[in-house]
Symmetry: C2
Subunit: 285 residues, 2 copies
């Protein structure tokens, strides 16, 4: 007899996702949070932090392709990239597909996330030991203060604005990120669900607009996240989001699961109700 076990993540005690569980592979408590890995029927292995879905083997590609290729393809020659959070390694894996990149700094507060990912999520954590990767176990809120004119791209691959991630959603932090960028540097951050986290989306968007001159949210599915859909935001001090390295985009398109050049353009279309959240007019001729 196999027990009928289901994991349920509830969002604001109103809605949730439920997934049939094959097996719990890991459960532990780090210095910062509870960490679990469970194997699910629908999405394969899944990493949970404080009980919230962070990534799964089967749908991680949406998130990691979106946070990496969208900002990096706008830059003609990104050499030095900072990833904030991202201890599972998925963003590192995608950034390494950009041949101009010489060094990736991963600033992750919780070493246990890296260790658990190495042990249980090999298809995501595969590139954590790449020689181009320099891992800092440190709170990014502190780390970023010392970085000036240091990175071509900063990718904020954080948890939600609660628990250890809360300091990554402030004007001060975004200002320090901006100052850590080199000339023509670009930033992308996960910016919550436009469906299920509208209050957070609106707040983050307003903060980013105080700091950066170009602020462009973009949208894609993440089936295991609240609302089944997510947003990221591209920011810069002038560079608009468009593919500047067409040859590389074609290469990435050949082997990506979600990304292609049509998708690049499509993800920047802002749904009408999101224009309301951003206080933008709905129809401009």
């Amino acid at each position: 007899l196999v027990l009928d076990i289901w994991f349920t993540e509830k969002h604001e005690d109103k809605q949730g996702i439920t997934l049939k569980v094959k097996k719990t592979l890991y459960s532990g408590v780090s210095e910062f949070q509870k960490i679990d890995v469970i194997d699910t029927e629908a999405f394969g292995r899944m990493l949970l932090l404080d009980g919230l879905v962070m990534t799964t083997e089967k749908d991680e590609f949406y998130y990691h392709e979106m946070i990496s290729h969208i900002p990096l393809l706008t830059h003609l020659n990104p050499e030095r990239v900072l990833i904030i959070g991202g201890g599972d390694g998925g963003t590192i894996r995608e950034v390494l597909r950009h041949p101009s990149v010489k060094e990736i700094v991963l600033c992750e507060i919780d070493e246990a996330v890296i260790d658990v990912s190495r042990d249980y999520l090999p298809s995501i954590a595969c590139c954590l030991d790449d020689p181009k990767v320099d891992i800092h176990i440190e709170d990014a809120v502190e780390y970023i203060k010392g970085q000036k004119n240091a990175f071509d791209a900063v990718l904020i691959d954080s948890t939600d604005p609660l628990g250890p991630g809360v300091g990554l959603f402030t004007e001060e932090f975004y200002t320090n990120v901006k100052e850590s960028l080199r000339e023509n540097g670009v930033m992308a951050a996960q910016t919550e669900s436009p469906v299920a986290c509208q209050k957070e989306f609106k707040l983050i968007n307003a903060l980013l607009n105080k700091v950066f001159s170009v602020v462009k949210p973009y949208f894609a599915p993440v089936p295991t996240y609240p609302g089944g859909n997510w947003s990221w935001t591209f920011c810069s001090q002038g560079l608009q989001p468009e593919i500047r390295n067409e040859a590389l985009a074609i290469e990435l398109e050949k082997t990506s699961k979600y990304f292609n050049r049509d998708i690049y353009k499509a993800v920047f279309a802002v749904p009408n109700y999101v224009k309301d959240l951003m206080a933008l007019p709905k129809a401009v001729k």
Copy 2:
């Protein structure tokens, strides 16, 4: 004490959505199916057929805007429109926003769906009694056989390929739909989730390609459907999907919740993994 009651829709016994229930408003069994309306915390009132979510007050706009405006805006002057299924009335409401439309035929097999929607979903069913609407309570599989050269657009707003809806997913049915179209006529159908119903998506896509010369799937969120994301497919005998009535598109954009002209283009971007399902190459220069 308020009971903590949750409705859960499970898909293939692997994954599901769960929603906190305020109250069950209606439960009945028609000649064809079980019909329920429940009021939920997250999505307002929700219509269920045979226990599956059909539509909700808060996220119906994605579905109804997509199945209506995308095909109708490709046609310069749609006058006569057939809606197959769609007893809740949401598609009628959106089609009526196209001023060229003189007559809408709704062919719904189950009158009880219409009656329940009128009683419990007024914001969706609001236009069922519009003088332009002609309601046929009949199996569309039979109805369509007698219609030749009769419609400028056919919108297949059906349930899933099981139960009373199964006959709406066959080559014979699609061929009859094609023959019911006037010159330059267009068709759009709901074609299941590219995330959670890949087998069905692939099968329907193959069938449509046997019948129509232009077959273009398009994609948008529907948070309460399996996988949180859905597909529809635009079909014609030559007309490509593009906005031909820009002035009307601007009007619709002013008051739509999801649709705007950028979204129109964006929804046709095919994710790379869907290209696999459609047997399309991934990178074409």
